[in-house]
Amino acid sequence: MENLTFNLSETPVSALNRYLHHEAPKGAARKILVTHPDGAHNIAVGLDCPVEVEIQGHAGYYAGGMNKHGKVVIKGSAGTGVGENMMSGVVHVRGFASNGAGASAHGGLLIIDGDAGLRCGISLKGGDIVVGGSVGSFSAFMAQAGRMVICGDAGDALGDSLYEAVLYVKGNIKSLGADARIEPLTEADIAAIAHLLQQAGLDHDPKDFKRVASKRELYHWNADANQEY
């Protein structure tokens, strides 16, 4: 078992992904190195076994999307939809991530060392996201389950129409979305933040974070609210 390299300047992404889907589950290689990613789309999508993929450069759209059991490390930035719809495993972006990072992830852990763009964690369904930098506007929109730890700032409308996902923010929140509110940190929150930070390799005091969760006022339609929430 040794490392296997795919040079995307010579080999198409489809060949890499075919290997990851059909050969990697047989345990042929310990670690897959992807060189010259050069912003290609769909790198290492749909992993379904505990393989490790290291992307040595900038990835395009949907890198590590639909990941199950795998570990994808991007030594560069990631385009739109990194780790989208992840089921389990880890996707780690060493640089910044564009819009829609971790959208609708059901499980697993998405780590972004730098900033994330808009709509990070939109419709999160149970996955965990740790962002070392800041997140853009409309992050965690309609997030149903899972946790987000944001070490920097959050943009406008954080957690708009939030369900049961919980967000922890260290920096400033430009504005909260409808039905999102700041709540006191519990001991369980502090333990959860500490654990997620430790997994992400980030050093912050968990007590410095604010907890954002749903007011649950949008759960039931209220005729008296006159559409104002």
């Binding site: 010259h36 050069d38 912003g39 290609a40 450069g57 900038h58 395009g60 759209y61 930035s77 385009g79 739109t80 640089g95 910044f96 564009s98 819009n99 900033d115 763009g117 808009l118 853009g136 506007s137 409309f138």
Partner: protein
């Protein structure tokens, strides 16, 4: 979907290689925009009293067989002015020593099918239908020299696939704009501008943004003030990249649905919709790569 590219070189030596550096950027955006492509390149300005006009004959019956030299001779004789033309196929750059409006009026009367692509002292403009590689090849984009450029690959959504609806759009002198996205109020903008005597050439939504911003600049706004008014007036999705005689400017709408990424080194600033158009650039491994934020103005001067 559409693709945007921009390049501004900081070192005079690189001006010779501007086109050569850009062609892979444009071709890298083929998947985002396979139906048309265009490019505005800004170089050394012509003389104080001269103007350059980029012209396109592809909408006329003669097409690439159009006799540019005869046209230039006739124009020179009738208007009593020196006129020189650098032509290749259906494209030509006409340089004259009188004001552009007189030339344009004469052209509209004598050659009503001739399409005016751009006017100014330092802008040359090319656009046509075809894949980015075909268009780049047709006009020899790799040979172009200059300080900065704005390019576009189009996947039409809001108006037909024709050369005049390809980007960049221009208005006034030495100003162009390319757009990835779609505007929801182009007709509202148009109804504001037309009563002021501003004439539209197509039904394309991007033309409304281009003419709005150029109108603000002509009214005396700085580029920053014009863009600020753009944020207030233009509704829809957009990443806009604009070129002026001495700058590139980039803005994204508040929802930032349309992508953009910037790579900057000591030698150049390169802008593209996606990183895959920047990956081939020299020293890209050491470039400062970042995603421009929504509702921010980015202006790079030559």
């Amino acid at each position: 979907m559409c693709g945007i590219v921009g390049l501004l070189v900081k070192k005079p030596a690189l001006r010779e290689r501007l086109g050569e550096m850009m062609v892979p950027m444009l071709i890298g955006m083929t998947e985002r925009g396979p139906d048309s492509a265009g490019l505005a390149v800004f170089g050394a300005p012509v003389g104080e009293h001269e103007r350059k006009i980029s012209l396109y004959s592809g909408l006329m019956a003669d097409g690439a067989r159009f006799n540019w030299q005869d046209m230039a001779r006739e124009l020179g004789a009738r208007l009593g002015v020196a006129a020189r033309v650098a032509a290749s196929g259906n494209h030509a750059i006409l340089t004259t020593a009188i004001d552009a409006e007189t030339v344009k009026r004469w052209l509209a009367e004598q050659y009503p099918g001739l399409f005016i692509l751009s006017t100014g002292k330092s802008i040359d403009l090319y656009k046509d239908i075809g894949t980015p590689a075909e268009v780049a090849n047709r006009y020899g984009f790799d040979k172009l020299k200059g300080t900065h450029l704005v390019g576009h690959t189009r996947m039409a959504t809001e108006s037909a696939v024709t050369p005049d609806r390809a980007h960049p759009f221009t208005a006034g002198e030495d100003f162009c704009l390319v757009h990835n996205g779609s505007l929801s109020n182009p007709y509202g903008i148009r109804r504001k501008l037309e009563p002021r005597g501003i004439h539209f050439e197509t039904d394309n939504d991007t033309e409304a943004a281009c003419r709005f911003l150029e109108w603000r600049l002509r009214e005396g706004d700085t580029l920053e003030d014009a863009l600020k008014k753009g944020f207030e007036e233009l509704d829809g999705f957009y990443t806009f990249l604009m070129g002026t005689g001495d700058a590139l400017a980039l803005i994204r709408d508040p929802f930032a649905c349309k992508p953009a990424v910037v790579a900057e080194t000591d030698d150049y600033v390169a802008i593209a919709s996606e990183f895959r158009s920047l990956a081939h650039l020299p020293d890209i491994e050491n470039a400062h790569v970042f995603e421009p934020a929504p509702e921010e103005m980015y202006v790079w001067k030559i």
